[in-house]
């Protein structure tokens, strides 16, 4: 069966039942990078455009959430006598999780939501799944600046470990991108995915050591290392609050799962790029 070939130089497009091969797919994707940029910028602009506080909300909401957790859990959980700063730990965890939660949820419905754009004009559908991860990046960066500003206020030290923040951000971005690619493609075929993602995020937040340190769960604690979000969030927390436990295993799990998800996500969108439209 003929396969799909794109030759932009000579403006020839051949579409057959077989999808574009991997290398040309990447090249086409790269050719559309500017479109990805403009879509992400517009997404960011339109989201906060009509609110008078605008972008402030993107940072304020997780800040409030973090403050509530600090106040309540430091009493309920008796996390006051830890070897690291609990407030900084929660703040770093909630702010980075908030980026994942918001972007992951938006990404899972992105291809379906973007149908008015996609059923007429061609561009790789995977762009849509990546837009939320990119457009929320600005909010995440702002959060991280505020986190650093807040560290002395909550009594934590600003240390050299902050160099791990950019690393953590890159890992989080890639993980969110992989998550978005997989869930958005699934959502086209199974509209339950939207709700499954919502439910999963709810549970996921609590099985990730965000508002409590993993060792607080005693014997269950080590199993949290197999949660791919644990390593990423821990890296943020390590940068902000200092060492609190072993990092290597959870981070390796995170990297491994990220790679697997990106591979699956790219394969699925590549194979279904020109079939999604039939289901929209």
């Amino acid at each position: 069966m003929p396969e799909t070939q794109v030759n932009s130089q000579r403006n020839v497009l051949e579409v057959g039942p077989q999808p574009t091969r991997l290398l040309p797919w990447f090249r086409e994707f790269w050719a559309y990078r500017e479109v990805l940029g403009i879509l992400a910028r517009k997404d960011f602009q339109t989201k906060y455009k009509r609110a008078s506080f605008g972008i402030v909300w993107a940072v304020l909401l997780p800040m409030i959430q973090a403050a509530v957790f600090v106040v309540i859990f430091s009493r309920v959980g008796q996390f006051n006598h830890l070897s690291f700063n609990y407030s900084a730990y929660v703040l770093a965890g909630v702010l980075s999780w908030s980026y994942f939660g918001t972007s992951g949820l938006a990404a899972s419905t992105a291809i379906v939501d973007g149908s008015s754009l996609t059923d007429k004009v061609w561009f790789p559908r995977s762009l849509l799944a990546l837009v939320p991860a990119l457009s929320n990046l600005f909010g995440l960066a702002t959060s991280m600046v505020l986190l650093i500003v807040a560290l002395p206020i909550v009594g934590a030290h600003v240390t050299w470990r902050l160099v791990f923040l950019p690393v953590a951000i890159v890992l989080l971005l890639l993980f969110t991108a992989g998550f978005g690619l997989v869930t958005s493609a699934l959502h086209v075929y199974f509209r339950d995915v939207k709700f499954i993602v919502q439910a999963a995020l709810l549970v996921w937040f609590y099985v990730t050591p965000i508002v409590y340190p993993a060792h607080a769960l005693h014997t269950i604690g080590p199993y949290l290392d197999f949660n791919p979000m644990t390593g990423i969030i821990n890296l943020f927390q390590f940068a902000a609050a200092g060492p609190f436990g072993p990092l290597m295993r959870p981070i390796l799990v995170s990297i491994g799962v990220t790679v697997v998800m990106l591979v699956i996500g790219i394969e699925v969108t590549r194979r279904h790029d020109r079939l999604f439209v039939d289901k929209l």
């Binding site: 069966m1 003929p2 799909t4 070939q5 030759n7 932009s8 130089q9 000579r10 403006n11 020839v12 497009l13 051949e14 579409v15 057959g16 039942p17 999808p19 290398l23 040309p24 090249r27 790269w30 050719a31 559309y32 500017e34 479109v35 403009i38 879509l39 517009k42 339109t46 455009k49 008015s116 754009l117 996609t118 059923d119 007429k120 004009v121 061609w122 561009f123 699934l186 075929y189 199974f190 509209r191 339950d192 995915v193 499954i196 020109r274 079939l275 439209v277 039939d278 289901k279």
Partner: protein, 438 residues
Amino acid sequence: MIASSWTSSDADAPALMTDTSKAIEIINVSKSYVKLNEQAMLLKSIMPFNRAEKEELKALQDISFSVEHGETLGILGRNGAGKSTLMRMLAGVSAPSEGLVRIVGRVAPLLSVGVGFHKEMSGRENVHVNGMLLGLTKKEINQRFDEIVAFSEVGEFIDTPVKFYSSGMYMRLGFAVAVHVEPQILLLDEVLAVGDVAFQLKCFDRMRELQHRGTTIVMVSHSMHAIRLMCPRVLLFRKGKLEFDGDAEEAISTHHQLLTLDAAEDHFGQARMPISVLSRRLQRDGVETAAASHDETLEAIWSIRFEEPISSPQAAFRILAEDGTLAYSIHTTIGDAWRDFDAGHETEVRVRFQPRFGGGGTFRLMLDITDITGVHVLGTDPEGPRVYVGPRPGTGGLGDALATIDIDDVHMTNHRSLAMDGRAADANGSGEARRPGS
């Protein structure tokens, strides 16, 4: 931006053998959709042994045709004939299930209402995003921006989010972008139906201009007028198959024949109606005919049978122009109780009329028989006889306003003979003597 970022390299090698002599080539293309009987559900579909529920819907079956560079192609067909599926493939957003679609040149698709606009964004932003998606660089968009806004006539609303636009404004802006990206291939799907007459004329002008500049145009339209004006060649689709490929007039006439046929099929597939139409004929001076001059008196006669007892039936008579436009209608005294009919009674409905349509054309005569309220149709003639009406020389249009024109008090009206020259024309619709606008 998209084209420029590509480099000629090894991966393009297979494409060297590609035949680019045609703008569009469709080779043995089929498209089938897998339809789950119920809404696709995650849990259900991952269950093994659950494949039986799938049902295949064939939207296109083994279609082959090609379009030359610079050619304008019209596409006709009823809803569900596969036109939209085909247009999606030409836009490159959908892949065929079998076969190959080859498109040579930059495509600007303008399919159905909406052109890939983001509702939350302003018109200005959408022009930029859309232009970029259609393959323009930022610089090229900026160069054309004012021209696009001027063409679209959205004026000061250009900075308003498009979700507040009227459908006309939305469409106009979309059309403006599409025609200003200077595509090599322009795809239009029923877009000229929106907008006022002035804008439609502007669109036609712009499309003519693109035609002269060698743009390949593929347009789907339900407006026979638009198809005639723009397309020398027309493809006719029916139930996923390519039924006809050729001359526009012939395609239109075949389309109408199929419409009638399908309508009859649909009709007889349904439950029997309380009143059956047994036969119909059209007469002039007691002789059956299929053509007439605009000032002659015709008589259409329908034989009907009451399948159930009916009280005080009423009738509505309509004359439809070729593109389905209502040219004339009249009905009986709705609301008047006048007589009861027994089941099995057979009788005739006779309509006498003069086809006073100055510009002439082929018309369909339709009859509906309703209950006393005029609302519920008890019987209908899905086929309706056709009549070819010759034009009154010098006039055009559906109606005949019997106008006279004086210039400098000189009577200048065209009073050439009113004799018919097209009487012998084929009454099936293919023999129409004049083209609108010519």
